[in-house]
Symmetry: C2
DNA sequence: ACTGGCACTCTCGGGCTTCGACTGCTTACC
DNA sequence: GGTAAGCAGTCGAAGCCCGAGAGTGCCAGT
């Protein structure tokens, strides 16, 4: 629908606007290396591009800036992610050669890596607990009526939930419950563990033990969806791309709500996209932002996702490749562990 | 050193400047309720106040704005924290009546509470692990060579560290080590546990067990200082008080480094202050910011600290009382648990 | 189908003026 | 001596004008 020349011109406008943040005039486009026609011709094409919704003019006699549709075309025609610069890929290599163990630490560091690669805000969403199996369960009595349920998952993640009892429970009872619980749910996923019918098990148990067991199972079924681990880094880098404090404040408000951020990424991935531009993000407050996402795969399963949040005029090629490379390496590194 | 009238005038200037963010002229001060002299007299006193370093002029023929020394006087003469508004204290009451269990969740919610009370950024530093005793230790083998050490502390906090072994270890060995480790360090503090001489214990143990034990103890001594829990909330609220993106970016850069934030609070508390104004914070990037801090006390011991970060022209009285009240209630609530 | 040319538009920045909010000083009063 | 009143002076902010510059759209010519 866009002939070759128009596409080239659009590409040139987007590229230069990303670089300078200034409206781009026909003269600049004409003098760019890829375009070999005069500025008058460019003008005609730009007028057409504007009519078709790819470009917009802040006012007459200003240059053009890309619309969301313009960015979308630009991103689509980029094809896949490009290659990283030598410095960047070096940085990634050394990062992943050094890192190991401690998943939480690693994800947090990954978000720092990604933001330092792109100079935008980086979001790393940890593996879903749903797919992980329970490696170990422990009940720890903190005070007579307060018991902590500590789960270690196969991913190395830890979940804890406290349960409050109506009556005091002594250590013997807690331990008995712990043993029973352990045989019941070790090896299962969180989902299957929490779906255990708590009434099918009170036969043969002491009442006190049964109470604790039931409470523990209930709490597992709770909102563990909530404590997905999210790591956000580089917000201070990103906001330097904006010039209105107002905008910045709104963006930060979004980032503070980690739940929102997670569902934002998942939503974008769910639509089969790797880039969401402006309103495509589905969030009005992010009208001036774009998101680049990629899932990462651990042991053949999609485990979590990573993403970058920057201005709509972001360096898409760099962001795409950084996200792709980091997602890939992260998945591989986690698979080994 | 400041006579009564000058103090009143200074107070009036600071109050109005905090409200309006505009330089305050002698006319405004003279028309304020507390001042009963003419603007000419005010002018004379303001000139004196400027000479003494309490006020500054952006340029001739502009009003005065407070210097750090001016704010300092203002804060000092406030005396202790005032009282909270009815809405605010209601908010605090309902918050603490609802909250319970899960320390981590609670601290995180507290930071949200504090920022919503003050509209500035709130920092909550969790209890030092140093004072907590170890309630339970567990070793979980994630893979043949990777073992996770999971500690539950009396505070309800959880520490985990992974250790990598040079050789495969089967579950029996890991379990043996777990039992031994548990008898060794349960009931101790982290500090005393990590100071156990790892060479005094390899008598009578199998070599494999000893290896794991030693690795576990070493890892305890590590940098657990680092994972102090820090919860920061309300940054988006706070930045609305500033008008240069540049400043905002620098402040966020500080807040991203949680270690820095913690030592910032501790440093201020260490100097016996509850308010640090501008450069008093000891951080050049926070020249336009002030910090209000208070420690909170759990079971008679200073456990952690909470604080608020806002612009130098912050509402000190509100911030002081919010911080004081929340610190108090938080300590009491944690003591019960 | 391009291109060169031209008239037109609109922003941006400098220079100018006016306005207003201040101050400092001087003088008068109690 | 402390307070008030008045007055001249200062300086930024806002408004205005104008010219420069960067763009555009359109038309006519190749």
């Amino acid at each position: 629908m866009l002939d070759e020349r128009k596409a080239t011109i659009l590409r040139a406008v987007v590229t230069e606007y990303i670089e300078t943040a200034q409206p781009v005039g026909s003269g600049h486009v004409a003098s760019s290396a890829e375009v070999n026609v005069s500025s008058a011709t460019v003008r005609n094409d730009m007028a057409a591009l504007e009519a078709e919704g790819y470009l917009a003019q802040p006012h007459t006699s200003a240059g053009r800036i890309p619309t969301e549709k313009g960015y979308r075309f630009f991103v689509d025609q980029l094809g896949g992610p490009g290659k990283l610069g030598v410095n960047e890929s070096q940085q990634v290599r050394t990062f992943f050669s050094r890192t190991h163990g401690e998943m939480e630490q690693m994800l947090s560091d990954t978000s720092r890596l990604l933001s330092s690669l792109t100079h935008y805000a980086a979001v790393v969403v940890g593996p879903q607990h749903e797919v992980a199996t329970i490696k170990s369960v422990q009940l720890v009595g903190l005070s007579p009526r307060l018991v902590l349920v500590v789960l270690v998952l196969s991913s190395g993640a830890i979940e804890k939930h406290s349960i409050e009892l109506a009556a005091d429970a002594d250590d013997l009872i807690v331990n008995a419950a712990a043993v029973r619980l352990s045989t019941l749910i070790t090896g299962q996923t969180l989902a299957s563990a929490s779906s255990i019918d708590s009434h099918s098990l009170d036969l043969g148990e002491s009442v006190d033990v049964a109470v604790i067991l039931r409470a523990a199972l209930t709490v597992l079924g709770g909102e563990h969806r909530h404590d997905d681990q999210v790591f956000i880094g580089g917000t201070s880098d990103m906001i330097a791309s904006f010039d209105a404090v107002r905008t910045v404040s709104e963006i930060l408000r979004i980032l503070e709500q980690q739940l929102v951020v997670v569902s934002l990424l998942e939503d974008v991935l769910g639509r089969g996209l790797s880039v969401a531009i402006g309103r495509e993000t589905g969030n009005e407050a992010l009208a001036d932002c774009s998101i680049v996402v990629a899932p990462y795969v651990v042991d053949g399963e999609t485990a979590g996702s990573i993403g970058v949040l920057g201005p709509t005029r972001m360096h898409y090629d760099q962001a795409l490749s950084a996200v792709a490379v980091v997602a890939n390496r992260l998945g591989r590194t986690l698979s080994e562990g």
